[in-house]
Symmetry: C2
Subunit: 322 residues, 2 copies
């Protein structure tokens, strides 16, 4: 008898590629547990169109020119796109490295159309990972409120629960870029795993890891090592040495099952969408932690506060395949 | 040669007595390092007038009918007093225990007048400890913006930095009762030590401690053990057993030096005074923690995140004197 391994789960990635988005994308491509069936871009680390171009270039380097890439929302639900963070991700989003152009154009459909189409093609099985601002997902929910019925689960990199924010004392960048969208997405009727700074700031890639990527001798990995260079510089001010947080790949690894949450209570999460000092904060009701029963009955969002194993070695092992 | 001990520092206590306020008051009375020169009451756990009556009764039991007690603000700066928390502190603020009446009336002056008068009498030396909503302090600052010049330091029990709140997912009761006042007090030009839930929820009084108070055979301590009974009941839902957080006495002990902060960065603290979901939160800019240099130059508020020793044995040792 042969043991059948389960067929890979179809997965849609929504991202603002982005240095750590690049790592998340590559990790998903190297993960046999899932089948990357589409990528939508959104403005965040870089504009939505540039994010799609970066995604296409990275996919081409990995020999995956088959994965559809659609351009998503340029502006957040309320307001205008702020222009990205060139000191963090480079002016082009990939650390100012000039990737070999894929020669491929983004899909004619929008990211919202792609997501909705995939949700029908893979109804009940589609997994969604969102590692940028949640604008596309909010627009998809507005366009079709039945979307959650066809999505197996949603994993979001974003927010800060009991840790400092990274764009304000309390707000994390993905949520802060579009709090109105995050509020709508977290209020919708689906199972969400929120991967906040509490865990993504605790799991770092070091210079030795980056060197291993640079020296991989494979098609994509050395480019990723190069793309990380500027990002490592940026993190000196945060961590006191060249290294990098692993925001987006940690969300991808938790979605795939490569890293398992050990503390991840299901609690109500409200997004501060006021214009006050807390704008963009994810207010997670963790008051039950004191008594050791943090789950709140009826809550659909699981907030990851601790994981069982470090991401870096696992991530590196997979990235070195590409 | 005799070694001269420093003369006790004059200290004004602002409180909403209150079960844990009672412990803080008693601790201060038992502390040779300070001289309690006045107490102002404010609405919070109980109405301002009832808080003053409770304070007078406790002072009488301790044989300290000499300490002036003034009634302070009934309503917060914006809005009306909400009526207290009878399920936590009892309808009368002291766990529904009927204390022997002091027979003494509150001072004719208001809490604001008392604080300002003491700040002149002890200019440059007066220490202030506030363990209730900050309404009186804000009104005193409005009445005389030079007050901070005459105050040596201010210690505030309030807020939550990297811990859940206790009246909302992010807000602590003292700050949430009057966010506008807290914002004004924390924006004023004085050295503030903020003692938030991060430390006050980690330092508990247990049933054995309460029994020791009940059996002390002294004038005040057995009453405190009795007053704690209802408060211990309330904490079962939070901690899973009868016990009590030590919010207010921890602030008092940190002010006096009986407990020393070990992690207490000086950082900007902003109070959310919007009407949004974060209302009443203390937003402490702790982003420097990641790099191990949490102090922010120019910041005047020290946020206590860890202490060097447990409060309970030290507190008990002092309370058993009374």
């Amino acid at each position: 008898m042969t043991q059948l391994s389960p067929s890979p789960a179809p997965l849609y990635l929504d991202c603002d590629t982005g240095v750590d988005d690049s790592l998340a994308l590559a990790y998903l491509l190297a993960s046999p547990e899932i089948d990357l069936v589409g990528v939508g871009s959104v403005s965040g680390n870089v504009g939505a169109r540039q994010g799609a171009v970066n995604t296409l270039d990275l996919l081409a380097l990995a020999g995956r020119g088959d994965v559809p890439v659609a351009v998503g929302a340029h502006d957040p639900l309320a307001g205008e796109y702020g222009g990205g963070v060139p000191h963090v991700h480079g002016a082009n989003g990939v650390g100012d490295v000039v990737l070999p152009p894929s020669g491929r154009a983004p899909a004619e459909e929008s990211a919202v159309e792609l997501l909705l189409r995939l949700s029908h093609e893979h109804a009940g099985r589609l997994r969604v990972v969102a590692v940028g601002p949640l604008t596309n997902l909010a627009l998809a929910l507005r366009a079709d409120p039945t979307l959650p019925e066809r999505v197996r689960d949603l994993t979001v990199m974003g927010g800060a629960a009991l840790h400092p924010g990274n764009v304000s004392p309390v707000a994390e960048a993905n949520i802060a870029c579009d709090p109105e969208a995050a509020a709508e997405v977290l209020a919708a009727d689906w199972d969400v795993t929120l991967v906040p700074l509490d865990v993504t700031m605790a799991d770092l890639l070091e210079e030795t890891d980056r060197k291993a990527l640079l020296e991989a001798g494979t098609a994509l990995a050395p480019w990723l090592g190069d793309v990380l260079d500027l990002y490592f510089d940026f993190h000196v001010a945060t961590f006191g040495r060249r290294c990098s947080a692993l925001h987006d790949p940690l969300a991808a690894a938790i979605a795939v099952g490569g890293v398992r949450p050990t503390v991840a209570p299901r609690v109500p999460v409200v997004v501060d969408d006021t214009r006050g000092p807390g704008r963009g904060q994810t207010l997670c009701d963790l008051r039950g932690l004191y008594a050791g029963h943090p789950d709140v009955p009826g809550a659909r969002t699981r907030v990851v506060l601790a994981t069982g194993s470090p991401l870096a070695p696992h991530l590196l092992e997979r990235l070195l395949r590409l």
